[in-house]
Symmetry: D2
Subunit: 133 residues, 4 copies
């Protein structure tokens, strides 16, 4: 497992639901946010991966465990790392923590395939592998 | 103003915020829903407009007045009509009502430009004008 | 596993992302939609469960497998069933299919705890168990 | 008009739609983000306004003009200021700019009523007025 990259995000009204906590689907947005910043921190923003290598890395599986609730105005720390890199797929691991007390609120992972712009599975470019891992 | 087309939508948890009412941005989603169904009811789904005429109708202005709150599980009736059609733009009008008591919750409009796939302003196709108006 | 309840939903622009497919987080909204309609079909809307029994059923785990993409204007059929009911938790199972060709696009489940309004774990009310299962 | 407060936000996939630009409803999320940070910069986070004065400031009108498109990975600068403060309402003004070239993408305003927790209109607390304006 790679060293995690930390991203911060403060919860807005629009993230919450009437139970006064963050709506469960929004953690997949936070996961994307963490993933984007992980990749950027490795010097290869996802936009550049798409354009230079003409590939996409769509999510093929997502799994989240909800341990505690995030609330309006909480500052969240999204800890993102790479769990596994294979020939044509990779898996990101996430922990969403409340910055104020370091409590882990949600943890999970997303698995991604590597596909061409035409939608065919393809090998992960070597430069992507060596940078991200 | 054209005869309104009615679309129904039931509020989910994911539409609400911690004030226990529908989050204000989501009414622009409901406006899109009403707009899609208005166009479909005229026999020309928006997807077909894009593909046949190779145009988009992006929103250039949106205005909403929030009169009363929608809540979780409310069945909403979105009343959509065309307010104005011009050479290269058109304006939709919306009323979002609670079906249970017909109360108007939100009203507003969105103005749309007509642009080519390359992003240049262009005339609204005659067939689109004659169908929608 | 219970008999699935079917709910239909048509994809709007607001559900898609720039890869021209439905954004992965939105399937958790569709899961909520299916869950709400499953419970309503059993004669006990979720809103009533909350109010009568003074409990919430928050999601504690979500898992989705993305097999094929949904696109703008696709009519989706969300097939929802109960996979398991335990003393103080229950699990819903989902299949999101494209209605036009019955292709399964996404499948997954969400596990829910049963908690009081004060946030303490509690037993599922017998009436809820007997209705839902 | 007060001095604007600047907030930065980087566009994620989840903000875009299939026209490869930010979906129009999401600018109301960005407006909330700017509003939250404006209020926080004045030393009185919105959460504290709610709790100390037992009031809400719900949106009663929103108006946005879409001039240019924001795209995936664009860094946005949300410039937020107070346009007007009245006895029982206030209006925020926004400009969403692309940080890379300072181009104004979207501008608009939101008007807010001041209501008690029971939902009755009430005067804006003097401390809120003097801090925000």
């Amino acid at each position: 497992m790679s060293e995690p990259v930390h991203t911060h995000y403060r919860v807005i009204y629009g993230d919450t639901d009437q139970m006064q906590v963050v709506y469960y689907a929004n953690y997949l947005r936070f996961a994307e946010l963490g993933r984007n910043e992980y990749i950027r921190a490795k010097g290869l923003p996802y936009k550049e991966i798409e354009q230079r290598f003409r590939i996409h890395l769509p999510v093929v599986e997502a799994n989240l465990r909800y341990l505690h609730s995030a609330r309006y105005d909480d500052l969240l720390r999204i800890e993102t790392s790479i769990k596994e890199v294979r020939r044509a797929s990779l898996t990101f691991q996430y922990r969403v923590c409340r910055a104020a007390d370091d409590r882990v609120l949600v943890e999970g992972h997303t698995a991604h395939a590597c596909i061409t712009f035409e939608g065919r599975p393809t090998r992960l470019p070597e430069e992507v592998v060596s940078r991200l891992d």
